[in-house]
Every structure is written in structure tokens, then in C-alpha cells.
Symmetry: C2
Subunit: 176 residues, 2 copies
DNA sequence: GTATTTTGTTTGGCATACCTAACTTTTTTA
DNA sequence: TAAAAAAGTTAGGTATGCCAAACAAAATAC
């Protein structure tokens, strides 16, 4: 268990882009792939041949390009990682949208399946645990700028958190 | 602001290993570098020439190898990232030690400075905020295995957390 | 339906980064 | 100190992955 697909980062990027094009524009064309990846058209031809040889895309010269089931599976996995990483970076670490996206784009190729799964569970844990949740995440911004927690407010913060939870739990009971 | 060093992942690895060898065995020898990186000795010579040309290592054929101030700075930065990422993966996400190390080893080359800083601040936030802390992190394990929070215990968990904080705050007051 | 434009392919070249194997230098040992 | 071993270098080769530019096919326009 290393990187999962066994593909180079470059080829994984091609699959990801092809999936994206399939989802939006119906057909993936070499020109669009080149534009999205910022490479020349000639480079796309080479990559497609390589992907075709690995059974990941349906491709023949001058034909339309589609993902094979195998290629689609990998592409969806990469896309899932991309989205998950981007969300964690943007929503939790609160990195600006562009940096979050760019960093996710690089990390998606190097993170292993185990770590990715754990990160997503952790994201879920943060969001569902009453001790944390969105409001706790927001406070992280303050922690970042001030460099230190204002310890004096901790008691108050914790009490408010408990109160919110009880109110919420109470509200939920009413609905039962 | 992209990757910081502008070096390839490969060359960053060389710098990291050279720093490590300098710290432990005093002198970095090509043979040790090759072993640590899992490459042949011939590959090391090529990399050293490249690093020398960039002013990152002091190197001449058959000479000992040392990092220049510039190379040392980059090597320390990579090493710092490696340690930070490994700690986050191991201590927070609780990925097994080997996977954490291997994943950190790949991520260190693709994470940008901003995101890294945020991640470290977040690690600090988790550890210092009374609402979270080590005990909250431990509970993450349960969340992972059970797949769901046992909501019934939340009130109790939160109350205990508040009690612990007050006790701790009280203890601290006594010391003043 | 032919000419033009667009799109796709091919070719040759460059850079990285690795390998193997032959060779040289340095170090060790006898 | 001379032979043997170890360490380092060089040379030639492979694989990726990109580019630029010439070329071919397909699509569009007239």
C-alpha cells in the first residue's frame, strides 16, 4: 500500500481532468485536457497513449476519449481525495481557497488510503463532536491571529458549549 | 509561493539526508547517502554535482560533503516539516508510526509554507484548548472504530471536560 | 465541395533521475 | 609500502514527461 494507483502524479492528473471534462462537457478533447493541465497538445497525445496501454482510457488516434471502468475508478478516487483535502484545508485550517485547492491538488497524489480515511473521519469527528463543531473551528482563527489562547475566557467558552449542547439535546427530545 | 525551495523532491531528499548524517555521523559520505535514499552510489554523485551547482552543498570530487548555509537552511525547513507532519499524522490522526513517517516523507515536499504553518497552529490549538486536548484526541479512536458517536455520552463527556478545566484552573490559581 | 481553420499527431530535443558496469581514487590491511 | 578492499566517479543506457515545430486529419465556413 503506497500510493494506490501506482500511476505517476502526471498520469493521475490526466485521469482527473478527463473525468471532470466527462462530467461537464460530455466529451473530453485533447485540446481541453491540454488547457486544463497547462501543457501542450503534443504532450496530451503521449499521455493518452500511455493511459491507453494501461487500460485506463479508451483511445485511438483522432478518436474521442473516454475513461474505462478501471480508469474511472481511479479518477473518482483522486477526485474524492482532492475534494476531501481541499475541504479540510479550507474549512478547518482556513487556508485561502486558492492555496487550499492548489495544495490539495499536490497532496492528493501522495497521501495514502489509510491516512486519507483517517483525515476524513477526523473531519467528521470535529464537526459532530459537541465539544468542537463549527463554532470551535471558528475560534481557531482567533487562536491563529492572537498566537495565544486568552485563557480567561475558557471557562465561559466551555460553559456556553455545554449549554448549547443541552439546549440542542433538549430540542431534539421534543421532536421525539 | 509554491513549494518554497524550488528544488525537486529528489534533491530535497538529498539535503534532508545529508543534514541527518551531519547530525549523527559527523560526515556525510556518498555511500551512506545512497543507502539512506535507496539509490546507487552513481546516482549520488550526479545529485551532489547538481546541488553543488546550486550552491547548496560544499562538494568536489572525492571530497567530504557538507551543507552550505543556504543548503542547511532548506534542509532544516524540510526536516521541520517532516517532523511536524509526522506528529500530526501519528498523534492526531493516529495513523501507525510507519505509515505516518512514510506519508510525512512525501507530503513534506508538496505542502506550502502557509498550509504548514496553519497545520502546526491547529495542532497547538487542539492541544491547548480546554475543549479538546489529549483526552479529546484519544476519543477520536473510539469515533473511528464505532463509526458513530454515542450521543448519549456527550453530556457526560462535556460536563467532565468542564469539571476538569475548573479543577485545573483552580489548581493553577493556588500556585499564584 | 473545396478552402480555411481547428484539432490532433509525430518527430526530435531537452531535462531529470535513475540504473549498471567499468574505471579511478582513497583507504585499509597485511 | 604494495596489494586488496572500499568508496567514489564516469560513461552509456532507460524511462518519464515536457516542449516546439512540422505535419496530417477533421471540422467548419464559404
Amino acid at each position: 500500500m503506497k500510493k494506490g494507483s501506482g500511476l505517476s502524479e502526471s498520469l493521475e492528473d490526466y485521469l482527473e481532468v478527463i473525468l471532470d471534462l466527462e462530467k461537464t462537457g460530455k466529451v473530453a478533447r485533447a485540446k481541453d485536457i491540454a488547457e486544463k493541465l497547462g501543457v501542450q497538445r503534443g504532450s496530451v497525445t503521449g499521455a493518452l497513449k500511455s493511459l491507453e496501454a494501461k487500460g485506463l482510457v479508451n483511445y485511438a488516434p483522432y478518436s474521442y476519449i473516454t475513461l474505462t471502468p478501471k480508469g474511472g475508478k481511479i479518477a473518482r478516487e483522486i477526485t474524492r481525495r482532492h475534494a476531501g483535502l481541499r475541504d479540510f484545508l479550507y474549512k478547518v485550517l482556513q487556508v485561502d481557497a486558492e492555496t487550499a485547492n492548489a495544495t490539495a491538488c499536490r497532496m492528493e497524489h501522495v497521501i495514502d488510503a489509510t491516512t486519507m480515511e483517517r483525515l476524513m473521519s477526523f473531519f467528521d469527528y470535529i464537526n459532530t463532536c459537541p465539544r468542537t463543531g463549527p463554532e470551535w473551528v471558528e475560534n481557531f482563527t482567533a487562536h491563529c491571529s492572537s498566537k495565544r489562547h486568552d485563557r480567561g475566557e475558557c471557562d465561559q467558552c466551555l460553559s456556553a458549549c455545554l449549554a448549547r449542547h443541552r439546549k440542542k439535546a433538549g430540542t431534539m427530545d421534543e421532536h421525539e
